[in-house]
Symmetry: C2
Subunit: 200 residues, 2 copies
């Protein structure tokens, strides 16, 4: 089966848009999607940014909010910007690696919906614990695992891999042959590429 | 008839992609498209950038080249990056304002094709003169007009208008109600918006 890696950061608005539709589109395209959370922060920092480019460049930030609102409305998705933006996505990313892999998409969508559908704070352990419990997981055990050295190292490794792949934003999609697509608006193209590459 | 303004900079690769397809799509959508050349340079400078973000952030620049190449291939468009990138687009922008308005799209597409289809230097008066002559225009007279105080002032005014509209990149599309869409990949959405706004 054709494979496509879906790289996302929980702080990223366009990752929210992609997360809410990518599984359905991948299934329709016959492509297996691998959800790979990572952190944009270290990648931004390496190019001299101390915060999101949407904060560094206010005109771009205002446009992004309107763009997400418009696209969300077309897709029946609520949008409410969390405060502060960007949210600290570290714990959510560690948890996404700590939950059973089969539950990672559902966990991730729940985090994105709380954050960008309701404007909630995703570094809050109360919220994250509710989400874990809603998936039938033992929240305390999952937090312990998420804070373990092995999960910390795994997330650092994923972020380093993302950087080596040349990723500089989220969401990004990477096909089996290394082809990179950046942005929710490249999802269809990435799925078509992954399918073609596999059929060759 | 519904109206949509197409703001473009001759140095912009994504403006090339949009320029080569926007008239056909606008016609099919029943939208009148106004071609409005402007300069991104002063807008970039105002946010502290001394060159294109694709040069400032090399990973993004490498990705952009690949993205344009892929999209161009899908659309049957050649792509060859000019050297240096970005090109100095000042004279081409002044000429685009100096030619008869009905010829502006055709002049602009010819400049974009020379620049990004063949990698040529668009500040070169020889090249620009050939393009003008190819449109049946008197090149010497058009250069004189392009370098006149009134065209210089008009281009400065357009760039200031772009900045006031909140534009921060090119291409951008602005509907009659002030709604802004950024990027070649938002062209279809912008046309639909312009049409809806007009039908209301």
């Amino acid at each position: 089966m054709a494979q496509l890696d879906f790289w996302y950061d929980f702080a990223s608005t366009y990752s929210y848009l992609a997360a809410m539709r990518c599984d359905a589109l991948a299934e329709a395209a016959g492509v297996a999607l691998n959800w790979r959370p990572f952190l944009l922060g270290p990648i931004f920092a390496a190019q001299g940014w101390t915060t999101s480019p949407f904060n560094l460049y206010p005109a771009k930030g205002r446009y992004m909010l309107r763009d997400i609102e418009r696209l969300g409305a077309q897709r029946g998705l609520k949008f409410r910007a969390p405060d502060p933006f960007p949210q600290n996505s570290l714990l959510a990313a560690r948890l996404a690696l700590a939950v059973p892999e089969a539950l990672r998409p559902e966990f991730s969508r729940a985090v994105f919906l709380a954050e960008f559908g309701e404007g909630r704070t995703i570094s809050d352990e109360g919220l994250l614990g509710e989400i874990l419990a809603g998936l039938g997981l033992n929240a305390a055990e999952t937090f312990d695992k998420a804070k373990s050295d092995s999960i910390r190292a795994q997330l650092r490794g994923e972020t380093e891999t993302a950087q080596k792949l040349g990723l500089f934003g989220a969401p990004s999609f990477v096909a089996g042959d290394g082809e990179v697509f950046w942005g929710d608006d490249r999802l269809e193209q990435a799925l078509a590429w992954a399918k073609d590459a596999r059929d060759k």
